[in-house]
């Protein structure tokens, strides 16, 4: 039985990765999960310098999901390289660094700092964070800006680049094509959907940032639809995410056209979620006589 998939020449022993921002740099969850078993660990967004993030409350629960406005708090790429990378290197898994920035130069600085790090398999470029004022989403909602940042990053990147797309757009295929045009090696989607929750007892916004990114099972049907549309619009591989809690959820994304999947919010409800999905995929393949995971990828047309 083959569960291996290849994205831009990088082999993943199975298609299951973590979603950026939900798994730190892996250390905390390594108390629950054997990181060696994961197809890849995608880190929290890293900028060129430390970012303090937003005020609290940064999260709120919603029916079947949550909203977050963390605001990309991160220690910056230098600390990541010095502290987090040596930790992650101990494991036989792919290290995918999620990159954030306010300007194209910021992104490029991070990407260049990582060019001497052969242990980093891929870079995921976050142009879709709805929770920071500058950068992020500004690149993710305008196809020209998306293409431009993709090509600028691609010029400097030693590793393959995955452009992480925002669902907060009218037509996801336009953005997917823009990333492909810019030279992206893969795309990942979806990032969170911008939402709002009012705390009626305090008569204010439930998260201090007023708006937050909605994630979890509540957004899954939208995510599956967008992954399907994107996968049918571009030739580069698609990494699907958005509300995956179980193996059934993951298989929906794979059948819709995702070569790999990322698991985010589910980790909060169940720290063993990634491993359970990996085992579930193997079980599903066995029970259904599927020899190779590629039989499932995009099998629903």
């Amino acid at each position: 039985m083959n569960t291996e998939v290849v994205i831009a020449g990088v082999s993943l022993k199975n298609p299951v990765m973590t979603a950026s921002g939900t798994f730190g740099s892996g250390e905390e969850y390594s108390e629950f999960v054997d990181l060696n078993r994961l197809g890849g660990v995608v880190t929290k967004g890293m900028a060129n310098v430390p970012w303090p993030g937003n005020k609290t409350p940064r999260i709120a629960e919603i029916a079947c999901g949550m909203m977050n406005a963390i605001g990309l708090q991160n220690p910056g790429i230098d600390v990541f390289i010095k502290r987090d990378l040596p930790f992650l290197k101990q494991f036989h898994t792919n290290i995918i660094v999620n990159v954030c920035g306010k300007t194209i130069e910021d992104y490029c600085e991070v990407v260049e700092r990582l060019s001497d790090e052969p242990d980093v398999s891929m870079l995921e470029i976050n142009i879709s964070c709805p929770n920071v004022k500058e950068g992020g989403i500004a690149f993710g909602q305008d196809p020209k800006a998306a293409e431009r940042i993709t090509s600028e990053v691609k010029k400097r990147a030693r590793q393959p680049i995955i452009m992480k797309l925002s669902p907060n757009v009218t037509d996801i295929t336009v953005m997917a094509k823009a990333a492909q045009e810019g030279g992206a090696d893969a795309i990942s989607l979806i990032n969170t959907l911008t939402g709002m929750k009012i705390d009626i007892n305090r008569r204010t916004f439930a998260v201090a940032n007023k708006t937050g990114g909605v994630s979890g099972p509540a957004i899954k049907p939208i995510a599956v639809r967008m992954v399907y549309q994107a996968a049918n619009a571009v030739k580069i591989p698609v990494i699907g995410m958005g509300g995956i809690m179980t193996v059934e959820d993951a298989l929906e994304f794979i059948m819709a056209g995702a070569t790999a999947v990322s698991i985010g919010t589910a980790n909060f409800a169940n720290p063993y979620a990634t491993i359970e999905v990996i085992e579930g995929i193997e079980r599903f393949m066995e029970n259904n006589g599927v020899e190779d995971i590629h039989e499932l990828i995009g099998c629903v047309k």
Partner: protein, 260 residues
């Protein structure tokens, strides 16, 4: 792999202590074996609608029987669901989480405000076992519906304040300190932010070291998501900004290290 787990634990006791206040014992010998006063557990709903864990302090640890106790107030749908469970039912729980209190000093002053009272019970119990340690506890309630007071009296000299003056000192916990002229060489506190702010000031003015337990909304509960931060005076070691994680670096912080 580490010392934290997420398991399905059996509820060995669930009783109502006062209006909307419930006491729950669960059987979880692994967590009971390593848990410390001031740490907390994450309780999970059985409803797919509520994904995030509810952080609840450890109120008592019975290491011999391998059991843990929590006392909680019904604050919303999650705690409502927990309150309706029955002895023999099970509940999903992750822990033990956070750092817990550091037991120090010979004259302890414990402050519990409202639903910050529960962690003081295990703390008082452990401090009472320290040779030569005098344990005093000031408990702040809204009104005369007191809970855990008698249980705390087994380990500490207990003083009470109520907002409406229906029991003990009328006012807040610091009004009770004034009324009784209490002194200490170490302060331990858990409760609402305004109370902690007051204690932070009081501790500074009296030059008494203080350990404050904070609350913040949590998603992962283990330090990965950066939802639950509080402002720190010095650059934190994790993100190299001035934000510490309540779930991992706390919930207990020394009064001088944080900005409330």
């Amino acid at each position: 792999m580490g010392e934290k787990r997420k398991v399905r634990a059996v509820i060995t006791g669930l009783t109502k202590l006062a209006e909307d206040i419930f006491s729950m014992w669960i059987e979880e010998s692994f967590m009971a074996g390593s848990a410390k006063a001031g740490q907390f557990l994450a309780l999970y709903s059985d409803s797919a609608e509520r994904l995030l864990p509810r952080p609840i302090s450890i109120c008592e640890i019975d290491r011999e029987k391998g059991r843990l106790r929590m006392v909680f107030r019904v604050a919303g749908a999650g705690t409502e669901e927990f309150s309706q469970k029955k002895e023999g039912d099970s509940i999903s729980v992750m822990g033990p989480l956070g750092n817990g209190y550091a037991l120090k000093g010979k004259k302890a002053l414990l402050f519990g405000g409202g639903i910050g009272i529960p962690p003081m019970l295990e703390l008082a119990k452990e401090l009472a076992q320290e040779p030569g340690c005098e344990v005093q506890a000031v408990l702040g309630y809204r009104d005369s519906r007191l809970f855990l007071k008698e249980e705390l009296e087994a380990y500490a000299r207990v003083y009470v304040s109520t907002e409406d003056g229906s029991a003990g000192t009328k006012g807040n916990v610091l009004d009770a300190v004034k009324e009784h002229g209490l002194t200490a060489d170490m302060i331990y506190a858990c409760g609402p932010k305004p109370m902690l702010k007051g204690i932070q000031k009081f501790a500074e003015a009296c030059h008494i070291p203080a350990q404050l337990s904070l609350e913040e909304k949590m998603a992962c509960g283990i330090g990965a998501c950066l939802a639950c931060v509080c402002e720190s005076k010095e650059t934190d070691s994790h993100s190299h900004v001035k934000n510490k994680r309540v779930c991992k670096d706390g919930p207990v912080f020394s009064a001088e290290e944080i900005v409330l």
